[in-house]
Symmetry: C2
């Protein structure tokens, strides 16, 4: 008997919801105990699933780890897309990139912990895909910095090195920026952007104000 057209997608979306819940629960377990120290039986217990069911939803422990990484990267790239779509001067884009990134770190503390601690455990194609997506995001940050240098809004900084300074400053908040904590993502993003924008702005135009300079692209 042929199924109704909607039934497949309903079943798929139900499976996908369950899958996402397993990813979230397992991220918490990995963040607490470490990826290597966590056995499949512990993952089964935490998710209230048998071994067969866990593999049905996830495939393998490493696939689960990759899914946790993807969950972070999906959110981070969505944020970067929103920033690119909104456009505006590079200083405003960089400030919004910071808000978006800290928002992900604040909302997904377990996933980000696993992401930043366990990425070397990914192998083969999964490691390659992770590196590619990570490079893509880093490239977005570098591009905004380069655009700011080109437009004269930023001084003549090295986009690659400056992106690393910016990424370190923001990523490292995962150690203390937690849901329910004293600080919100926004209350950290604002002073961080203040420091960074003053730090890289062209001296004659201090502060993070979004005044657009006439474009004078260097060739």
């Amino acid at each position: 008997m042929r199924e109704e057209p909607g039934e497949d997608s309903r079943r798929n979306s139900k499976r996908e919801l369950r899958r996402q819940a397993i990813i979230d629960t397992s991220a918490h377990v990995f963040a607490q105990r470490g990826y290597h120290a966590t056995g499949v039986m512990e993952l089964c217990a935490a998710n209230d699933l048998g071994k067969g069911a866990l593999y049905y939803y996830i495939g393998s422990k490493e696939e689960l780890l990759a899914a946790i990484h993807d969950r972070v990267m999906d959110e981070v790239m969505l944020g970067a897309d929103r920033v690119a779509e909104a456009g505006g001067p590079p200083s405003a884009q960089l400030a919004r990139l910071g808000e978006e990134l800290l928002d992900v770190i604040h909302r997904y503390p377990d996933h980000v912990w696993v992401f930043l601690h366990e990425f070397p455990a990914l192998t083969g194609g999964r490691a390659e895909q992770f590196r590619r997506r990570r490079r893509e995001y880093e490239g977005r940050v570098e591009a905004v910095l380069r655009a700011g240098v080109d437009s004269g809004e930023f001084r003549d900084i090295d986009p690659w090195l400056t992106a690393r300074a910016w990424l370190g400053m923001h990523n490292y908040t995962y150690l203390w920026l937690k849901p329910g904590g004293r600080l919100s993502a926004r209350s950290v993003a604002k002073p961080f952007a203040d420091i960074f924008m003053r730090g890289i702005s062209t001296p004659t135009k201090p502060g993070p104000a979004g005044v657009k300079a006439p474009s004078s692209r260097r060739r």
Copy 2:
């Protein structure tokens, strides 16, 4: 028969040298494979020692992990002591703290990797000692920032939050600042200090110049 006075200390220093070599070799193994995934037999093989000899020098796997942490913290605190001893305006002290920190990260990539990834594996008194030393260093950074605000050299930033921005920016270099790499510790420390000092300097005195303002301590 009573030993010559020098014999004990010679034996101790020889043992200490061997112990340090074991710590360094094991840091490399942990950095490659992860602390939990590394067995005692692998540590024995890497150090060319039997199980009994390894325990004679180190005590336990966790003690080895603590020793790796101490190795990093010893170096980091020595650097902070040199900075405090040299004194000078807070901007100069902060720049030198950055140089010293990046120098440790650059010289001890394996130890720092283990330090930043595996610190949650320390338990009990060892975890407490590690937290205490880490807090002590963070307190040094905060104190320099506070002194700069008090003297008017820095604008009215939050020393705690600003210290986290500074620590993230510098600590996170462990991912790409490697011995033999394209960049030296100093060639990174300088542009990082430029960004940070412009970022927190009082607007009327831009740049990281060490011009000492007349002290106008706020009470």
